[in-house]
């Protein structure tokens, strides 16, 4: 009785071990190939990142060039803007409160 039960167990265990072994081998192969394909994807994403960083640098350089003060002044002059007459510029000291002020260049009258 015991002998028959053991032979049945061994009979099941053998193919199960073979299936398990094959499964493990394929899992390892699958994992390895997944890592490699991920590395490929990462590599192509990195390439894209480098290209985007390159474009960003180019755009920053262009922005810097466009924001050159000489260029801005020429553009402003073309639009009718002029450098302010400093004798007519009023400097208001920043106060702690948020009140609005009236400012005038006329001399303040003594009361």
């Amino acid at each position: 009785m015991r002998c028959r039960r053991r032979s049945w167990f061994v009979g099941v265990l053998k193919p199960l071990s073979i299936v398990l072994l094959l499964f493990m081998i394929f899992t390892i192969v699958w994992l390895r190939s997944s890592v490699v394909s991920l590395e490929y994807r990462l590599s192509s994403l990195e390439k894209k990142k480098v290209e985007l960083a390159r474009d960003r640098k180019l755009l920053l350089a262009e922005r810097s060039n466009l924001l050159a003060i000489g260029r801005l002044e020429n553009t402003a002059a073309g639009s009718g803007f002029a450098f302010p007459d400093r004798m007519r510029v009023v400097y208001v000291k920043k106060g702690s409160d948020s009140d609005t002020y009236k400012a005038s260049l006329l001399a303040k009258r003594e009361h």
């Binding site: 590395e39 590599s43 990195e46 390159r54 262009e62 400097y91 009140d99 400012a103 001399a107």
Partner: protein, 566 residues
């Protein structure tokens, strides 16, 4: 068992034995050799891209940045149909086919075809899939402001090594050492990433220069060059209290993005490399020395009515004949006779002592390349007329920066400052690596400075030599200078070649900036007050607006009526 199965089994067994033997060879006997060979095929050594640090102005605006480009090389042994390849390359990179073809005749396995090609052009060439042609990523220095501050920033060579200006002086901070890394690749040469993309970057340099002020200075110098048809012009603007250079310009200048082929004269930073005789701006030395030594007061009188004075057998004249002048008027009207009399009262030793005290004859120590020390002889080598000539700014050679630094002493209350153009060095991630601390040393007493400052204020007032330098709304203290240039043919002072200058600071009582303007060989006029004074006025006026400096009288005259709405 038949014969055939036995043979088949034997063949299979032999096959297996052969495979096993080979495996033993690969995995046990010659393992190391095969491992090294496999690694060699699967990995590749790649250079990590190196980028120079960027140069910024004091407000963080970029003055020098990097652009990514590609450099094209060839392996002559691999090139197929050289004529066709040369023609194809020539169409994109604008280089004659013969020049490219000549590179294919080389015996080596590597030669550059074109350095720093734009990414678009490189892409176009890559699409042609030319055999024997390769590409290497390469960074190109780009100066977004073109000519602006060209003499300060400097430029780099084809290998991004600093050659002039800040690019050269701060090379060790801006550049970085490259390194090689191993990357895994497949049979087709595709790189397998390990998730680490590296880039080596140099440190960033922050200047004391302000782009806005630099632009104002350069714009006005360009106008002055055109108006006076001058040979060259220089202007420097400095914070008199710290020595920070806010703007420094020399004309002619050059485009930093096209520095190849530019004449050496255009590359010279004349503010620190060119010496000139300062003329009357040098009278500050005898002036302050005489007050400091208690020899004169502003009211001390000098008889200048003769219009000339004879020193060491040489007759030195005043530009205009004056009568009896007080010491204040001597400076205000820039009398040569009066200044020489002051110099004679001081004596040669004292005059020389004060010249050295103001830092003349020595480099200022500014952190730029090419600075010269100027020239001043020791008193034992002075001739009989030297005391007279030196008192009025002759027989000495100075740089514009030295003169400006001397006037900064009057502006800041008596301290000799060390000028500098780099305020900070930061790592590419923003960490502070170095911050320049201002250096100053007291050389004149505060009392003398206060007296002399009041005298310098009169120079731009009615009766002074530089009314044209007066700025609307703020008092200017300064001094004009008109010096004759030496004629190399006659070895005498030229009668039509002058150096006109104005140096001063504004607002006079609470200076925000000290500035010098020097115009070489103006045509049509030559007096410093006429030529350089108005340029000083224009630059100062625009700069004070830019810096939001209110006019002096805004509170005193109560021009500003401010009332709360509630």
């Amino acid at each position: 068992m038949g014969k055939r199965p036995i043979i088949l089994s034997a063949v299979i067994a032999c096959g297996f034995i052969a495979v096993v033997l080979r495996l033993v060879d690969i995995m046990l006997l010659n393992h190391q050799w095969f491992l090294a060979k496999a690694k060699g095929q699967q990995t590749k050594r790649e250079a990590v891209p190196v980028k120079r640090g960027i140069i910024m102005d004091r407000r963080g605006r970029e003055l020098a940045v990097n652009l990514e480009t590609e450099s094209i090389y060839c392996d002559p042994a691999e090139v197929v149909k050289p004529d066709a390849v040369a023609a194809a390359l020539s169409a994109t990179i604008n280089k004659r086919p013969e020049v490219i073809l000549a590179k294919f005749d080389g015996k080596g396995r590597f030669d550059w075809i074109e350095r720093k090609v734009s990414i678009e052009d490189a892409k176009r060439i890559k699409e042609l899939k030319l055999k024997g042609i390769g590409f290497v990523p390469d960074a190109k220095r780009f100066y977004p402001k073109g000519n602006l501050a060209s003499h300060i920033i400097g430029y780099v060579d084809i290998d991004n090594k600093g050659l002039e200006g800040i690019e050269q002086k701060y090379e060790k901070y801006l550049s970085a050492r490259g390194e090689m890394v191993s990357v895994v690749r497949d049979a087709r040469g595709n790189v397998l990433s390990e998730g680490l993309s590296k880039e080596i970057r140099g440190n960033n340099v922050v200047l004391t220069i302000d782009e806005g002020l630099q632009y104002i200075v350069e714009k006005n110098l360009d106008e002055a060059m055109e108006h006076w048809r001058a040979a060259s012009a220089t202007a420097i603007m400095m914070d008199p209290f710290t020595g920070e250079i806010l703007a420094m310009a020399s004309k002619p200048d050059f485009d930093l993005n096209n520095s190849a082929g530019v004449h050496a004269a255009e590359r010279r930073n004349r503010a620190i490399t060119d010496c000139y005789e300062p003329g009357s701006t040098f009278k500050i030395v005898v002036g302050t020395a005489a007050i400091e030594e208690g020899i004169v007061t502003p009211g001390t009188k000098f008889d200048c009515s003769a219009g000339f004075i004879e020193v060491g057998g040489r007759k030195i004249k005043d530009a205009h004949r004056h009568g009896v002048l007080t010491f204040k008027e001597v400076i205000q009207k820039s009398s040569n006779v009066g200044s020489i009399k002051v110099g004679l009262n001081l004596g040669r030793e004292k005059v020389y002592q004060y010249i050295k005290r103001f830092g003349f004859g020595e480099r200022t120590g500014i952190d730029l390349t090419g600075e010269v020390s100027g020239w001043i002889r020791t008193p034992d080598r002075w001739s009989g007329m030297s005391i007279g000539a030196i008192s009025i700014g002759q027989e000495v050679a100075v740089t514009p920066l030295q003169v400006l630094r001397a006037y900064a002493v009057i502006a800041n209350g008596g301290f000799l400052v060390k000028p500098y153009v780099v305020s900070e060095i930061r790592s590419h991630s923003g960490g502070l690596l170095h911050k320049t601390a201002p250096e100053k040393q007291r050389i004149i007493s505060e009392k003398t400075i206060a007296t002399f400052r009041n005298i310098l204020k009169t120079v731009t007032e009615e009766g002074g030599t530089a009314t044209g330098a007066a700025v609307d709304g703020n008092e200017v203290a300064g001094k004009t200078g008109t010096a004759q240039l030496m004629d190399p043919r006659t070895k005498r002072y030229s009668k039509d070649k002058f150096v006109s200058s104005f140096v001063g600071f504004v607002p006079a009582n609470d200076p925000r900036l000290a500035m010098i303007v020097v115009i070489h060989e103006p045509k049509g006029a030559h007096y410093g007050g006429v030529v350089a004074g108005p340029i000083f006025k224009k630059i100062a006026s625009e700069s004070l607006s830019y810096l939001s400096v209110p006019r002096d009288d805004s509170e005193e005259k109560r021009l500003l009526l401010v009332s709360s709405n509630n």
